[in-house]
Subunit: 219 residues, 2 copies
Amino acid sequence: MARLPVYLRALTLLIERGVATASSEDLAVAAGVNSAKLRKDLSYLGSYGTRGVGYDVEYLRYQIAREIGLTQDWPVAIVGLGNLGQALANYAGFGTRGFRVAALLDVDPDRIGRDFGGVVVRHLDELADLVDEHDISIGVVTTPGPVAQQVADRLVGSGVTSILNFAPAVITVPSGVDVRKVDLSIELQILAYHEQRKSMAGALHPGLDIDVVAQVVAP
Amino acid sequence: MARLPVYLRALTLLIERGVATASSEDLAVAAGVNSAKLRKDLSYLGSYGTRGVGYDVEYLRYQIAREIGLTQDWPVAIVGLGNLGQALANYAGFGTRGFRVAALLDVDPDRIGRDFGGVVVRHLDELADLVDEHDISIGVVTTPGPVAQQVADRLVGSGVTSILNFAPAVITVPSGVDVRKVDLSIELQILAYHEQRKSMAGALHPGLDIDVVAQVVAP
DNA sequence: CGGATTTTGTTCTCCCGTTCACAAACTCCT
DNA sequence: AGGAGTTTGTGAACGGGAGAACAAAATCCG
């Protein structure tokens, strides 16, 4: 389930606050979901709650981390050391969440050899060796859109079986390989779409703006 | 619909390739979706296709851009000039997609006054003035998790009605305000979950690894 | 010790999105 | 001009996830 990481974060937050036990309702609020949905999700992992009491926060957190596979550290390769790639390479929160930047790749001679957070940028041609050496199965693509597909092909060819794609392009991979896409422009465009709707709502009923808005904002 | 931006990108790609007309099947492949779904989505905007021919790529692209609201430029404020905030501030692809970095905010004295892509970082206290001055309705949060909520509160208080949240935290806002969340760790954890499953599939059937994998990879 | 209370785990229903499938509409070729 | 071939737009069936609701289980308190 795609919501397990959200629950994991909520649990970590509660642990930091010193909470020892929490009901599904508490967790649901912290994770921003419905409590019934949360209970159903957790029931897939097993019966880790106690009726009348709630969930042992620490224990549940371990079980979810175990389910996700975060009891081990996942080595990650980042391809494309542009603005975003550099930001990710320097991102400290990486290591605290079960991941480790094991390799940085680029083709620009100006970038090769530079050091980000203790890892040196290597040429993309060395990808296969590095994947093999560090047992990397997850690749992050932060290249320009036009080369994203061929980078993905090389990642897959080197043995990577999961790709996180930040490039503005649709990439296709063989079955058995997972791809997730994060696209800043698309997210912003979705927001813009809603923004436009908001401003149109007022324009459609001139003179009624205030009443309409008031109903929408505080129903 | 959240898929319109994807179609928009696919159409832009086809235009760059010099394609003048495309069938729903062509578009669906370029966008990575099912053709029936794409046709149904487009039918909500109106009848912009011609039976037996397909869609006029240029015309359709304009109609979708218009629907999303990209005929205007959206000024955006970025709060938090850490690694990620700096990367976004320098991101050139911003402007080409209907958005403009209108304000950069932080509270760190070392960052205030610095210039990213022609925009100077200002103190967060000036937020309301800048939002007002530039007519900003979209805010991007790239702060550490613990302060994300209060930054969001200040954004909303200043008149921002759409927030793109990169901070690893759940933020709550009044109804009428839209929030979208992008979380690197969660995406990676979802990939890790699938990775773990992949490696377990082999372990469950020792001796059959090769056959099983072969079936999964090339069915 | 037993009833009241809390909270989980699960069943059931509903609703929305996806996909199939086909008629209508348009082009092309003879 | 007319039939063959394409492709859109949409009605209908399907599937799955979301939430309400409730029984089972545990604690608390008199």
